[in-house]
């Protein structure tokens, strides 16, 4: 999993997130979503990726969906499950997808992509593909007090 420097991340949140941060948590975890644009630059055959605030987004662009969590309490948090629906205008990309479970049926069943199948009306059952993914989730057994982390998935604008 990629990580970002804290300063850069904070700047991104200010740029792209609504001013209202995580809803008041009945528990003790703060959750923050953001979207970044994967700005791909190729110079002399060297491709570099820069994750920037999405000033302009068009079909074919690659996006990074980021969820940050932080245990704001002084007690450990157990069985932390983050569910992140994949917006319909984008398709999941396989890079980094080994780090989370996916669902191709809106969250009814979960697994690694290779274990899932898709049956569309009038079509034979087939193996699920990246673009079939409707939801992703991460399961974190325990978050220590004050601990934080970043969860993310890549997707391309359809």
């Amino acid at each position: 999993m990629r990580t970002f420097s804290r300063n850069v991340m904070t700047a991104m949140v200010i740029l792209v997130a609504s001013p209202v941060l995580a809803l008041a948590a009945p528990g003790a975890v703060a959750l923050d979503s953001s979207i970044k644009l994967d700005k791909i630059t190729t110079v002399n055959g060297q491709t570099t990726h820069e994750f920037v605030a999405p000033q302009k987004v068009v079909p074919g662009n690659h996006l990074l969906f980021v969820t940050q969590y932080r245990n704001t309490s002084d007690k450990p948090v157990d069985h932390f499950v983050v569910t992140n629906p994949v917006p319909s205008p984008v398709a999941l990309e396989s890079v980094g997808a080994d780090n989370f479970e996916v669902s191709v049926d809106g969250g009814k069943s979960w697994g690694k992509l290779a274990q899932l199948t898709v049956t569309k009306p009038g079509a034979a059952m087939r193996a699920a593909q990246d673009a079939d993914v409707t939801t992703v989730r991460w399961v974190i057994p325990v978050i220590a007090p004050g601990a934080s982390g970043t969860l993310q998935y890549h997707a391309v604008v359809r």
Binding site: A22, A25, P89, V95, R158
Partner: protein, 324 residues
């Protein structure tokens, strides 16, 4: 960093998920909102909690794209009548756009340059130019607004210059340019997209063109006139009283057709036309204007041959005059 970028897979996926999002070859429509909200559940001690993150929204901008193809794949023959060349212009962008349509008959390598007569949009969508039905536009003027993935057929009517010769070839180009903007891919036109979103020039550069082929199909008409004199003394001297039989051979060559071919010839001064002496291919023609092809007046003859295709047998017209 290792990444796999597979735009084709993304496109295929769009079709696969047609239920979730309308299938668009052009991609997600401009103005669509992409929203990200995460939910989480966790337990702490004996309590279980559910929380939701903030929602981040990104609006999809307009990608400008256009494609032009030629629907007339084989060369269109151009002769005395204008040739109709058919093109298709497709909005490959993800938002509504209009396109300036410019026909250009001067293309490098042409053996002749046709004359552009008419630019028209196939209003009734039947793929055939219907004069008076299809919308004629000024060359270079804009199309109607095309929805993403929508296409129109565009007709260019071209006529042959007099300098063209049979079987010469030529090309005519149709260029479509996005009215929103064109230029280097990635160029930004702030606020120019649908509903005020930003517009970004796509890989097409916001412009596209296609060439359609013409081949001249023309007819060359050659008239050859000859005379045979028969004098009253059994000789061939052009003396008063001698009969002169004029023959005019009309030869039509080329792959085209000579339309409305009419042969006229004036009687030489000092001669008198011999009434009803005209023949066409050996068949007698009357002098009066009637069902047959020939007419004789006081001054000359007129034979109407009509449309004669190149390569058909020569037409021989003959008539007699007497030297006064």
């Amino acid at each position: 960093m290792k990444r796999i970028h597979n735009l084709f897979a993304a496109g295929a996926a769009t079709a696969a998920l047609a239920g979730a999002n309308p299938a668009q070859a052009a991609g997600t429509l401009a103005g669509t909102l992409i929203q990200n909200t995460a939910n989480a559940t966790f337990s702490s001690g004996t309590s279980t909690s559910t929380i939701q993150s903030n929602t981040v929204t990104v609006k999809v901008d307009q990608l400008i794209g256009v494609a032009v193809t030629t629907l007339t794949s084989t060369p269109v023959t151009i002769g005395t009548a204008p040739a109709v060349l058919i093109y298709q212009v497709t909005n490959t962008g993800n938002g509504p756009d209009t396109f300036d349509l410019t026909g250009a008959p001067n293309v490098s390598g042409n053996q002749f340059n046709a004359t552009l007569q008419t630019v028209a949009i196939d209003t009734n969508g039947n793929g055939v130019y219907d004069a008076g039905v299809d919308t004629v536009i000024t060359n270079g003027a804009a199309s109607q607004t095309l929805a993403p993935d929508a296409s129109i057929k565009v007709f260019l009517l071209a006529s042959s210059p007099t300098t063209a010769t049979d079987t010469q070839t030529s090309q005519v180009r149709l260029t479509a340019v996005s009215v929103i903007g064109s230029g280097t891919p990635g160029a930004l036109f702030a606020g120019k997209g649908t509903a005020g979103v930003d517009a970004v020039v796509g890989t097409s550069g916001g412009t596209a063109n296609a060439l359609a082929n013409l081949i001249a199909s023309l007819a060359n008409v050659t008239l050859t006139k000859s005379a045979v004199v028969a004098d009253p003394y059994g000789g061939t001297n052009p003396v008063p009283g001698a009969l002169v039989t004029y023959s005019i051979v009309a030869h039509v060559a080329g792959s085209g057709t000579a339309g409305s071919l009419t042969v006229t010839d004036a009687f030489p001064t000092g001669t008198t036309y011999q009434a009803n002496s005209m023949t066409l291919g050996g068949t007698a023609l009357t002098d009066t204007a009637d069902a047959d092809a020939g007419t004789a007046s006081a001054t000359g003859i007129t034979v109407t041959l009509g449309s004669v295709a190149g390569g058909t047998a020569d037409k021989t017209i003959a008539f007699k005059v007497k030297i006064n």
